[in-house]
Symmetry: D3
């Protein structure tokens, strides 16, 4: 069944109508979260693009090597806030709350990533991400050195930059398609687990 | 052998040192162009990310369905110019010259995508791409209607938006890695074929 | 008792330590909401300024004459989102959810006030508010005429502009003081009333 | 009598038609300056808002505790210049000339508040004010520390920030109402007192 | 004799120390205005550049062919205001007051060239000038057509654009040299002629 | 003979139709380069302005005193890139390639003047030029001191600033006239001399 509000301005593909590999892959995500995130239903209009999107996403986001998963979501929420992307702020804000068990962090980071109070390491991560997100042509070795001074390795710096770059794409796809967050995301991680 | 100027600030992987599937895939590109484009050597540091990058790129750029290949390169050069991305302007500018057989178009589009004289259809493509590249939060149905008025279908609008989004990522990766264009790109397509 | 995280970078005044008139006035608000909103505790450092702030706020926000109360909060959330003001987005986002009984509206308006889907009247209200918030020197009679075309009266236009102006001040006071939203605001209006 | 050019795009209220308390209060100002400043005649359309405006203004501007009155006007002229607010630049520029007995300072500060040559203390005041006026979300403790290094106390920092915030509101009200400076302001303080 | 405040950060050349042709030419200006405008004393450090500057200035500003002299000064004051150039706003503001016999026009145009109320022809002149001054890469035939619709000929459009371009240079030279307006300019044209 | 694509939106004057002094002067340039640069044919519509333009240009660009000629062209290409001026990027990019014998430098500087790798002295030159080009009101003594720290003399600083100012004008004239680069410029300096 499809809800009243449209998933995107270009329609969507329900899970059952996706090619088998995508149905299996996204079905697994849906089973875990309890619903099919709208980004997959909107992008399924173009299966080859969706497959590449999923591969890129998983390569960068499903790892605790270097940056923790919570730090990776921090990058997504900060840069999606700076880019004013509602889908990514709401969906990844939910994941950030779940990962950090902090019900306030997502709203605070997304609304003002420049000013939000963070640890020194988190501040260095967000500062670097914001430059790559909003003014990457001006990125200099001095910006990388600032990240290194806060203890980030070059692998971690790559992660921060590459995740920011991936969501520069993702934010624009969400704006292109007028993508709507699933209603479930808005409340996720806001209530103490019983 | 590696040339004097570094490929990227994070080093690079030579073709022979890449995993077999990437060696085959990028080797095929290199055979056609006569050299290994630096973007592949820089991103090969992360094979899983490079595979997804190649898949995404091929899904959007290797098609003449709807937008022509030249129009797809036009989107890349215009938005990479707006984003001040030297690698993408130089490398895709070369491809745009080759595809259009116009030795001036790339420099004119990349330097001033807002003002360059274009056909009505090309202007609509570039106008839409520039909004998605630089101010996607403000994209409205009216912008899409302007593209439709110039004759673009919804599939073509998706292509324009998705290519712009892909190079929003690609431009940022190039800035993150201080990626240097191969010397061969600078001259490609500037001389009449003998 | 005072919670661990500081209310503001300049400290705060507890309700019991405020001058009697402010204690009564803010006590009445606190009784209704169940807690003392931090903005009052932070601004109470300067009682005369807080009194004027409360008077201005009440004159513009506690009225259903012309703009509805929900529309007034819409102006606050949209412009505080554009100004990246965490306190005002979180606190007035909560009030907007309560007034509209819509658990999604605040996050959607605050994250992307330019692109969020709204009714024609709401869009005209938000468009006018965004000009006044971010580029008021460029406001022309044509912008007012656009609002009039959507049915706004001059009294309503004044309300939109004056509320935006009041929160241009309020957002800056929150940034000046590094004001923290009360924890209660984050969840308010997100759950269906039992 | 009313002059030819309109006071504001929403008309105005003459002193004699104001509620008694406002007539007394603004009459006292008018007696001192020799005319009724247009801001009061324009805002008198909404007496409750005007009362709060006057209270806020007097609480912040009529004091020599910490910041001198001239320094308070310096904040107003610098930020109103950055905001391109003609009424506030012309009216408060006049007051700044009177307070400093310097016939050039207002034009120099209003036209280029970033570059104007000032004493170290004045420069710190104006630098802080400009951040709060134009990019308050990015304000950090480092900006406050820079002000402290120039000798400003926290009370003085509050004054700078709060005056800037008040005129963020005031500038927007002037733009909303297309408020015209009284002709008298343009010349005030430009001629040596006889 | 030289006044206390420096003419520019690179010093200046007094009239008597200039090469003979410049002494004659600038002496004639000084005789008319009663003082040597500081711009000439600062630029005289480089006689060849000053000669070209004077020639360019005279070719564009000393003509009533097409644009009136007052309209030419309007372009200078509007764009120098947008560029925050104190010397040009103060000096050419004085000339604009003298030419228009309007003691208010310069302050109103310089402080907010976007919003100042003007005649339809003046508004078209200033609108075109502001695009050329602040975003000339985006200038399109549509902007020229708007000027033509308001009655401007192509010669007049050239004048508006070329004067704006000349003062784009002049404003930057003033900022480079920290050029100070002569005290005489501040009051000129503000008092009714006796 | 005139090529198909128009030289400028306001037409042009062929060399033979220019006043004698301009014909001689520009003829000498044309003899050296093998063609008449379009800027001269477009500006010849106004001989007096063109004469001043040539004088200013020659005073600043035809010198090796202090800044080398290659460094002067570096300033032009960097700031014309920041200003998105196609004519100046293409024409002066050609001259920069010829002067430096580096076929890549112009594309790299013009596309991303902020990030391009340069020597310390060149970086100081370009940094100063970019401030004067894009935000000259904010130029402070600290910016000049940074240039001095990199070894620039005050004469060289003047050159950098004045060349930037001249091309602030020139870029705007090119945009005003929709000036087209001569086809010859695109390839010049890209091929090794035989």
């Amino acid at each position: 069944m499809t809800e009243a509000a449209p998933v995107s301005r270009f329609g969507h593909v329900d899970l059952d109508d996706m090619p088998e590999d995508l149905r299996a892959r996204i079905g697994a995500v849906a089973e875990k979260s309890g619903f099919v995130p709208n980004v997959f239903r909107a992008l399924a209009r173009r299966p080859a693009e969706l497959r590449a999107f999923l591969d890129y996403h998983d390569a960068l986001m499903n790892s605790d090597d270097g940056l923790s998963r919570a730090e990776r979501e921090l990058v997504v929420v900060a840069t999606s806030g700076a880019n004013h992307c509602t889908y990514c702020v709401v969906a990844h804000g939910a994941i950030l709350r779940v990962r950090t068990k902090d019900p306030e962090i997502a709203d605070r980071v997304a609304t003002n990533p420049w000013g939000v109070e963070l640890s020194e390491r988190e501040r260095a991560i967000v500062d670097l991400a914001l430059i790559v997100a909003t003014d990457s042509a001006a990125l200099t070795e001095a910006d990388l050195d600032a990240a290194r001074d806060a203890g980030l390795t070059d692998e971690e710096i790559w992660d921060v930059g590459a995740i920011t770059a991936l969501f520069a794409m993702s934010n624009r796809l969400a704006h292109l398609t007028a993508l709507r967050p699933n209603p479930e995301f808005f409340l996720m991680g806001r209530l103490p687990r019983g």
